[in-house]
Amino acid sequence: MNSPAVAHGPRNVPALLMTLHRERFTGAVVVSGTPGGTLHLRDGLVVAVRTPASPAPDVLLLRSRRIAEPDWIAAGEASRTDGPLADTLVALGLVRAPELSALCLATVFDGAFAMSLGTSAGWQVDDSVPAPDLIAEPGVEPRRLTDETARRMLVLSQLWGPLVDFAATRINPAAQPAVGTLPVRYRDILLGANGRRAPRDLAFALGRGLYPVMLDLARMSARRLVQRDAPAGAGPTPIVAPRDFTTGASAPPPQAPLPRRNPGTHAPDSVPGAPPAEVPGSAGRIPTPPVDIGARPAAPSGDTPPSAPPCVEHDLRDHPAQGEITP
């Protein structure tokens, strides 16, 4: 992407999308971070959003059992010769055109919502990234996308509370919900909730969007149909010390610190700070350097073909991490 306006830097993704909309940009905005994702644009309109945090159209079609997997594979093979996958799916009678259009449109809004729950580290604008097979045509105006995303975040935060915690909360069914008198959607969620799944996991398991699942969970929580477990990583550290079975109390923590592994030796130190223990066969081993897995946006690597157009890179670290997609 060679746009001067983009090169001088919109301050966040919504502002970037507005700029690209004015320029009728066709290509992709690759947002790095957690979860990150890619927004695909055509003539300035957002036609697809792909992120690990929300199911794409193919996941929705398959996991909801709207299309059987063998049929999906057959359609994929047929589309190589017969044309676009969407047309092939419709031609084979696997899904109707209006339904597929609606589903692709829903994933645009759901993907933007899912990305807004995470943190962004930066973005790249790249007009060489191909659009996915299933897209929403003609696309969504960025203003409408950001407005709807902001509305969804407001609705859920009013119903549940902090959305970051909500997204990480593991869901358990209530003790004895009256499953027989519930809407099918609620019953499916109760059957899928097992105390290990967060809303995103439920969305993928059920073949539904992330926002619809979170909205249903919020409503179900109000009806006391589900219980909220603490988000993963939250709460006090569990006590793992040996228990005194005569009193039922845990033994006091040991005074001496636990041994720590010494990199490069494959052996623990007996005491932190002490010289590493000698391990047979370890002499002369070269320590492995640490791998940088920081959240910096991926710069164009040396693997990029020479013909690829240059990417514009921005850093979002100075901007608020939460709600990056929202205005």
């Binding site: 259009s101 609606a102 829903a106 709807e148 409503r219």
Partner: protein, 128 residues
Amino acid sequence: MLSQSEGGQSHPLEASLSGVLDYPGVIGAALIDAVTGLVYAEVGDCRALGNGTELADLTNLVTDRLTEAGAAGEVESVVVNSRRYHQITQVLPRRGDDFLLATVVDRAETNLALAIRATAEHARNVLA
């Protein structure tokens, strides 16, 4: 008033919806996500419908209260009458989250029973 369709010109969707305008008295229709209230497409004059989120919330509220009261089965339609219009919301079951076909009908042009029957018939075909 319904906002413009989020998808702008969603041709397959609007084409599937437009047939409902042929029924007597129907002046507007919208296809809406039954959970999120996202408006996929709309045709005609939909100002009397309210926005998609409100329609979805209303339908979910009715469904929740009915099931809480012990009613079995799924809601098929929700009808709201005003002095000038019938607002008929048909639930379109599907694999995945349901859709809503919301129509606004001029009371002077038809009667409620006929309008419900006509929109229910179209609802079965709207995704075809």
